[in-house]
């Protein structure tokens, strides 16, 4: 009887967690880390403007990127590099550019209509996360492979490089994890470490993430079989995603705390 109960419990747990969609997982986890690191003042203001916690709107920009009047924002989800390989802060499509623009705009949030404040918060929630996605960096064609190239699987079918880094890599070996469990396990930095991570500007944050972004092309080269990556490769992919996701969580909180500081 005991064995049967253990079996039932195990099966139930596995089944529940297999329902997760990992595209939303990383965004939910990042916003969960951020929510936990908001100052009381920022939390109160955000809940006032959004009427929800940060994770509720984690993928709002993805849901609405092809819906009027939000279509233009559909192009803001990646960091774009200039001809010299540096983050192109003159490019309006660049996520770091948009985060910086919104940060400046929100300095005046008290004089802005509530709907405008809300919309800009929704943008920040998603863009601070997306600018840390290892697969969300676009270099000039001459210097780098493009992020939309394909990998393969065991059946020889095409698999998106972008999806592997957005969705799969952070989930290797973690199909049972919820966003809050991820935050419990991964967001364990000391105040001193958090301060160090949050130092600088979105431009600097994007620039310091580039080495990790560059590694994506080495770890998952064009045409490689995504189901045959070695354990070591998968661990490295997951490590890169974790490093970026945790930074994104703390930085999102920092951006929000700065906007709503007393």
């Amino acid at each position: 009887m005991k064995k049967l109960i253990v079996l039932i419990i195990s099966f139930a747990v596995i089944s529940v967690n297999s329902a997760m969609a990992w595209g939303g997982f990383a965004h939910s986890a990042i916003t969960e880390i951020a929510e936990r690191n908001l100052t009381p003042q920022a939390r109160e203001q955000i809940h006032h403007y959004l009427n929800h916690s940060l994770p509720f709107y984690a993928i709002w920009m993805d849901q609405y990127r092809y819906t009027d009047p939000y279509r233009p924002s559909g192009k803001w989800h990646s960091n774009w590099m200039d001809a010299d390989g540096a983050v192109d802060m003159a490019n309006e499509k660049c996520a770091a550019y948009q985060v910086t623009r919104i940060q400046k705009l929100m300095k005046n949030y008290k004089n802005m209509p509530k709907e405008e404040v809300r919309l800009n918060l929704l943008y920040l929630i998603h863009l601070v996360a997306d600018m840390h996605c290892p697969g969300h960096n676009v270099w000039p064609k001459k210097s780098h492979p493009q992020y939309y190239y394909h990998l393969t699987n065991n059946k020889g079918k095409k698999e998106s490089f972008h999806k592997v880094w957005d969705v799969d890599a952070i989930q290797y070996g973690r199909k049972k994890w919820t966003a809050s469990y991820y935050a419990d396990k991964m967001a364990t930095l000391s105040p001193k470490e958090i301060k160090k991570i949050c130092k600088g500007t979105p431009y600097k944050w994007a620039a310091t993430s580039l080495p990790n972004a560059e590694k994506t092309f080495e770890l998952t080269p064009k045409g490689s079989n995504k189901q045959k990556y070695s354990k070591q490769t998968r661990e490295e992919m997951r490590r890169i995603c974790d490093e970026e996701a945790v930074k994104a969580g703390y930085r999102l909180a920092y951006v929000m705390n700065q906007i709503f500081k007393k």
């Binding site: 109960i5 139930a12 529940v16 929800h52 966003a179 809050s180």
Partner: protein, 263 residues
């Protein structure tokens, strides 16, 4: 009996794993528990056990095993044109919840199994009556049907695309898709953020008042919804707020019922 229900609830996790209503139900009960008096909390744990998060969807699990089939008729509420409950017999959530509260109030003279079953009825049927899929409006016959609607798939740079989906599924687990990595605790926090300030308002009144309240929540929906209606991205977001409003109401009202039944 406790062990049987626990095993069934765990089994339910297997059945409903693809639907997130299990997590929503867990969140509902966790939030309800937070709002119960110490006495109500004590009685809940006494009859259902310490692990309260597992004590959801036990009726549905039993029905899937061929037991407690009569409970399928207790999930709904019907409202007339003035949004007053229609109570022709006891096959509705309102009468069943009222009866269950009486059993818990008189628990000293009842068997342990009777009280446990009554508490389960309070929890599960209060959740059910706050699910829009179980709110029938006589003025809107479609509210009773599981019709197909057209669910937006977004536009992907082109015109918005739609896919046919089932209406009742939308209200049972369709809104969980965008929050599939959430724990029950994350839902609890979010419910408190968006509905915590209405707690006293939600908890006041009787089960019959709450049925009318759910009718008011559902009526604007059926003024536009029906077979093959379009659910755009924008409408989806608006309806998710309606869904959440039902979840929050259920949470606070389970607490109100347990507080009343155990005072």
């Amino acid at each position: 009996m406790k062990k049987i229900f626990l095993a069934l609830a765990l089994l339910m996790g297997v059945y409903s794993a693809q639907a997130w209503n299990w997590v929503y139900d867990q969140a509902t009960l966790l939030l309800a528990y937070e709002n119960m008096t110490p006495k109500a909390q004590e009685e809940l744990k006494r009859y259902l056990g310490e692990n309260i998060r597992s004590q959801v969807q036990t009726f549905e699990a039993a029905r899937k095993k061929g037991d407690l089939l009569e409970t399928a008729d207790w999930r709904t509420i019907t409202l007339d044109s003035e949004l007053k409950p229609v109570l022709a017999d006891d096959k509705n959530a309102i009468v069943q919840i009222e009866n269950a509260v009486e059993v818990v109030k008189n628990r000293a003279s009842k068997s342990e199994d009777e009280v446990e079953f009554a508490i389960r009825k309070i929890i599960e049927l209060t959740i059910e009556m706050h699910n829009i899929a179980n709110v029938y409006l006589e003025d809107y016959p479609y509210s009773k049907e599981d019709f197909e609607y057209r669910h937006s798939q977004g536009g992907y740079g082109k015109k918005e695309k739609f896919k046919n989906r089932k209406w009742k599924s939308l209200w049972t687990y369709g809104f969980s898709v965008f929050h599939s990595a959430w724990s029950a605790e994350m839902h609890v926090r979010d419910l408190k953020v968006c509905h915590g300030r209405y707690k006293d308002q939600y908890m006041a009144g009787t089960v019959r008042d709450w049925a009318t309240d759910m009718g008011k929540l559902a009526k604007p929906l059926y003024e536009w919804a029906g077979p093959f209606c379009d659910l755009s991205r924008q409408s989806h977001a608006e309806e998710e707020e309606r869904f959440y409003a039902g979840v929050a109401r259920a949470s606070f009202r389970i607490a109100a019922l347990m507080n009343e039944a155990t005072k």
